[in-house]
Symmetry: C2
């Protein structure tokens, strides 16, 4: 399905509109923006009957999954609305003048977070709702007070257009300024927008190659801008000997369910599973009833899957473990490969790079010390999982090493399924992301689109509401270094 | 004064040492690291008698200024120690499992900030203590739990070596791991370190050209890393008509004092002052008794000053306003230039780029609406100042525009002098910095060297202390979205 690309005139109009809307949207009180986000959530719920069939048609994802994803999307918008109403996200700080400040007299300084300006959000292909037009990056940036332009993912153009209409209408009806939200169609048009000086930050969810190319553009602008790219991860899972002995069936079933979920098209898919040689889990996986082929998001994703799986399978150290059909069939079949840990350590990046689709590499080890060596060899990861028993000797060191390399570490759970919560962290060192100090899921995601401004020596009537002496918004603040409300 | 550059073997040893120290330093409790920072501060105080004369000799800065700067430096170390003891900087969050979480059952997720790993800090030339070997970036990174390598500024090599010895010894005596701190001498050696995969973040204070070159290297690594560059700023000051009429003498004196302070070698020097045409401030500045020439940090800084001042003075729209000697003399004389606001708006970047040294451009306006136009034309700034009266009509719009472009906005105060406090913000959009969402001064500076990690589904005994259910460290935490201690 082709879709008209944004014309140069339209793009200029979108960029000008976003820039013009920025001061007005920033100046709205958090309560106003919260109402607007809630209105967007309500509109998505209201249009679910039109949106879900479009999503089904364009993404080939099953109805249940899409309904759950839409629920997640509207929940996320409402959670950011609640965050705005609370106000702690502003990190408001008041330091009163202090003639006795030990380094020398301190002036009155007050600091609050303000929006960065227009944000360009590159939508993901694998979550047509939750990481697309009205997804997490859009919700976080709008909540922060930034206008948002969404570069539409070409995999679901009609759903994007329909969602975009609903979002734009809901924002307009909620009194948001014209230009606060818009869609950009076309690869080159997205790059042109990324290079435009009116865009002040960008976010992205997708492949390492695509994300890195855009990151490089963002960094090489005359004015470089923050680029929040969520790229690739193999999400390694480490099964200890004791866990293998105790719970092989549960582990094998859980793993198959997780790596084939959504046809393996999750950035948190467990792509590497380390198990003991000749272990019970390995035996079960060898004879596992893998689920049947499921359609991938598009022919492009299916081709990428078959190509990358072919690379992996063609590696001298890699052998097939289980498959029920061909990765070249339509739809392609899930596949499990296997290799020894020493070969994987020697093979490095080639074997430990993401294969987007329903495949995983089962790495066999002889000694648990090799789990530690494997953990040390990892690049940055979104997640890393330990399947172990409470008193496993290897676990503390393993968890420590994995926490150095991953944004989220899991214990006896599977990494697919990323809850939207206060403590969630969806990020990690490169290549998991281009911005290891941030998260793209959870309430902390809003800080990506904010920057601090300090006001020094101002009279009360010229201060922003958040910083006035009487705290009219009732914000939680840090006053002279101490929390106060 | 030449100084031996770090040899390739020494550099490899420093990098290996920093990487080896990282897990140990990260694993120390915040209280341990606080003790080590305090020990460093004590050591600097103890060695003041040796350090101050070296600083005087190498920087040509006056004794009083250097003593004040050393006080600032030790205060900063102790403030970070206090921050560690409090623990709020960890932003610890606990979300208990919740089967009724609206988007679907929530697992137990707990999140805390952890150190990024070894940090490379490029020292500044203009603050031989506070932004150098034991300065703010070093204090913040060590506090965060990161080993630190300092690329020594060539302007004060002996002071750097002596300070480095004191810091290293204090850290060793406080029980910090070997390799947690070291010095790198040499430009190429600094770049080699910046490219090394063991370095996980870098900080820099200096020129736009130098900082951008290093930023580009940091971003183009196979694994890009956060680069916190604090670059250039003209720190514009806007004087309203009413303020000019009411307080011309005070404003002129304050301005001269601020732009010539420390021979104008502050990143917060007010380099642009906007005043009404034929105003009282302008008349006073025309006949102002500028302070006599003061030695600059080095011949290189003096040459740079004379060259940039020559460019400015040579611009067709620029006329001399006041000078008492030549910028080419040794030491060079302060200088004031002037230009009309319309010419400045037409001249753009050429006239609104930093001149590092005791010079400033006085921009004259006919209408206060031109102040708004000038504010709109600004690039990112560290600071922007309004000198006005409480009921000036132009002020609210002006302050709003300046807060969009600067990290710190001041009211009737001068931007030089950056207090180290909880609410301080020393940063701003590019080219003020390469990282607009962060600060390099104040307690919030620590977050530059931290990243979040979430733990999902862990039993209590495998969780980090900060996240255990009983909160043994007594940290302020966000529990199920609500602040708790």
């Amino acid at each position: 399905m082709t879709h008209p690309t944004t014309t140069p005139d339209e793009l200029q109009s979108l960029l000008a509109g976003a820039a013009a809307a920025a001061p007005d949207w920033a100046a709205r009180g958090p309560a106003d923006r919260a109402s607007a986000l809630t209105a967007v959530a309500d509109a998505l719920d209201e249009h679910a009957g039109a949106l879900l069939p479009l999503a089904r048609e364009e993404s080939h994802l099953p109805d249940g999954r899409l309904a759950g994803e839409l629920k997640r999307t509207t929940f996320q918008l409402r959670l950011f609305a609640a965050l705005l109403r609370d106000g702690a996200y502003l990190d408001a700080r008041v330091d009163h003048a202090d003639p006795d400040w030990p380094m020398g007299a301190r002036p009155d300084i007050r600091r609050v977070l303000v929006p960065l300006g227009p944000v360009l959000n590159f939508a993901a292909g694998n979550f047509p709702f939750a990481f697309s037009v009205a997804g997490g990056d859009t919700a976080a940036a709008l909540a922060a007070g930034c206008p948002v332009l969404v570069k539409v993912h070409p995999g679901h153009p009609r759903l994007s257009a329909r969602t975009g209409e609903a979002v734009a209408l809901a924002l307009r009806d909620a009194g948001a300024p014209d230009g606060v939200f818009g869609l950009v169609n076309g690869v080159d048009e997205g790059v042109t927008a990324l290079r435009d000086p009116r865009v002040k930050a960008a976010s992205f969810t997708g492949s390492v190659a695509g994300g890195r190319a855009l990151f490089d553009i963002a960094c090489s602008r005359p004015e470089p801008i923050p680029f929040y790219g969520e790229l690739g991860s193999v999400n390694p899972t480490f099964v200890t000997r004791a866990a293998d002995a105790a719970r092989a069936e549960e582990i094998a079933e859980g793993f198959v369910g997780s790596f084939t979920l959504g046809a393996g098209q999750f950035c948190t898919k467990p792509g590497v599973l380390a198990v003991p040689e000749d272990s019970a889990v390995l035996r079960r996986l060898r004879s596992a009833a893998l689920p049947g082929p499921a359609p991938m998001l598009s022919a492009r994703f299916a081709e990428g899957y078959a190509r990358r799986l072919g690379e992996l399978a063609g590696h001298a150290a890699v052998r097939p473990l289980a498959a029920h059909g061909s990765a070249h069939a339509d739809p392609p079949a899930p596949a499990l490969l296997t290799a020894g840990v020493e070969d994987v350590l020697a093979g490095g990046e080639e074997l430990l790079a993401e294969c987007f689709g329903p495949a995983a590499l089962v790495v066999t080890y002889a000694e648990e010390s090799q789990l530690v060596a494997l953990a040390r060899a990892l690049d940055g990861q979104l997640t890393a999982t330990v399947v172990g028993e409470d008193d496993d000797a290897v676990v503390p060191e393993l968890v420590r090493l994995l926490a150095e390399r991953a944004g989220r570490v899991l214990w006896n759970q599977w990494p697919t399924g990323v809850s939207v919560t206060y403590a969630q962290q969806h990020g990690g060192p490169y290549p998991a992301t281009t911005a290891p100090t941030t998260t793209s899921v959870g309430t902390a995601a809003i800080t990506r689109f904010l920057r601090p401004v300090a006001y020094q020596g101002f009279p009360d009537h010229l201060l922003p509401e958040a910083l006035k002496e009487g705290n009219p918004q009732g914000l939680p603040r840090l006053v002279d270094g101490t929390p106060a409300r």
